[in-house]
Symmetry: C2
Subunit: 318 residues, 2 copies
């Protein structure tokens, strides 16, 4: 018997952020859809996944990844890349997808490539709660998902509770890390263009553009995984600093944390906890670019890692 061959795809979520938004490095595809930098793992050429991934990212975007970590390996049948997308994949191969997360302090110039730094909220408009809970949830998402739960027969109760917990309905708190659960619900309920595409079924209801722009293959799922992981990790490891320039003001830092979490933070308490953490030091230099009183510039104290202060920044909601 000829066994089905396996192909491994490597995809990268490269994140940058500024005071305005969080960005992911994306590539443009023929049909106008966005995708993540990705490519096929070459078992004879790549010694490790990470090296393979770095090659692909460099080739497709000109970007040289720094900090990188593995996210998750997806192997479910039916959600892989359509054949054409993955160059050289043997026909009929089973496709497996390994996702990686990378962080970078600056949106490097990638204009020579067909790549763009994109605000990730274009793909997940329901994730940005910095200006309060988006109306979209109450107006479009909740009704659609509750209808889907209702139509679930024996699974109705489970579905209902998944929806409530994920989207913070019915007095449940909004837990920002549950990004993947939220996307998966929208996907399962057939509200994402991707679910229609993957199943080959006709959409029950035209998936609304309001539910976020789709991405090729399972890239929106990988992006959701990355966002969730980063939102969690920022709290217990000092990874935010991978997103900051050498010198920054405390407000800069707060804005970056807020854009990643999609939540507003309490300014004074955020500063106080940073102070206590010992993660940053003032440089005695000031910047006048604030529009108000000049702010002191700080830098990350890498030495803090040595002192066991290996935890992240606190995120007091404000």
């Amino acid at each position: 018997m000829t066994a089905t061959p396996i192909a491994v795809g490597l995809s990268a979520v490269i994140v940058a952020a500024d005071g305005k938004a969080p960005y992911a490095l994306t590539t443009r595809h023929a049909d106008g859809m966005a995708g993540l930098p990705h490519g096929r793992f070459d078992p004879s050429g790549h010694r490790t996944f990470e090296l393979g991934l770095r090659d692909w990212v460099r080739a497709q975007t000109g970007f040289e990844p720094g900090y990188v970590e593995q996210l998750y390996t997806f192997g479910d049948l039916g959600r892989e890349l359509p054949q054409a997308e993955l160059n050289d994949a043997p026909t009929g191969a089973r496709l497996i997808s390994v996702g990686y997360l990378g962080l970078t302090p600056e949106r490097t110039d990638i204009s020579a490539f067909d790549a763009v730094w994109r605000d990730w909220h274009r793909h997940f408009p329901w994730e940005d709660h910095r200006q309060g809970r988006p109306a979209l949830i109450a107006e479009a998402i909740a009704p659609a998902l509750l209808a889907w739960a209702d139509a679930g027969g024996k699974q109705s109760a489970t579905r209902l509770s998944r929806v409530q917990l994920a989207f913070g309905l019915d007095d449940q708190p909004w837990i920002e890390e549950r990004t993947l659960e939220r996307y998966e619900l929208i996907y399962e309920a057939g509200l994402a263009p991707e679910s229609v595409r993957d199943s080959g079924r006709k959409p029950v209801k035209a998936p609304s553009a309001a539910l976020g722009e789709p991405m090729i293959s399972d890239h929106r799922r990988i992006l959701a995984t990355a966002i969730g992981r980063l939102r969690g990790k920022i709290k217990y490891r000092p990874v935010v600093f991978e997103l900051m320039p050498e010198r920054f003001t405390l407000l800069d830092l707060q804005k970056v944390v807020e854009s990643i979490l999609g939540l507003p933070l309490h300014k004074q308490n955020f500063r106080r906890s940073l102070d206590r953490s010992g993660l940053v030091v003032g440089l005695g230099q000031f910047t006048q670019a604030t529009g108000g009183r000049p702010a002191e510039l700080f830098r990350f104290r890498r030495e803090a890692l040595r002192e066991g202060h290996a935890s992240g920044v606190q995120t007091p909601r404000g």
Copy 2:
């Protein structure tokens, strides 16, 4: 050109614990070495990794996994399974290893299979700090690793600091989650039988049995990953209860947490924080099996998950 084929191995760390020790479900191999339940992912037969994994575990140990989560996917060249181990792997295939973690409340009877529940400290004797820091660290591990760091030429400084941070030398705190880092150092320094086997080199110094029993393939690495992940997760998700029977005393619960963490906890403060968490309820029933005053029996309040109390148990060191 004939591309190198890829084979995917699935391995499971199935964990149980009681008041005495934490256990992993293992299989026995020809050479007397232990391994994890594992097998090859079948791209034409398995719809998802998880289903494939469950098949293999059931076949090899008779155990039916409940809660399961993906840990990590290892793809580095040079640390894969020796060919013979992985039934049916095409010769010359590149082997990739996906590790899973499962939890169970009872050590089910597996005597009909060639499987054993093993105290994981047999593979990681330096990880058990319930009776204080094991002498092994100061007597054998630290000297060997410091010598290795010293011999590192340009990398000496990095190595030294990795060793200090991982093993809590030189006033650094012992961070129980860093299980994988510790194992990787021992492996890299050539102190594990596995490193000798994988490299084909002669050992610099016979790897001492005191440095833990080896396992087949990269299974000790997967086990280390599982321990580290579980130690972290227990603190922020109520996963311990997956390891507990329906009814238990607070001391039972504390002993289980202690065996997983490899640390002693402060009894009163542990109880107080549990109390506040709302994760458990007293049943008004008492057990006399304590050897002292009878203890109340408690159960996990699954409803607590609904109330946003989705966090784990606190672990006040005692």
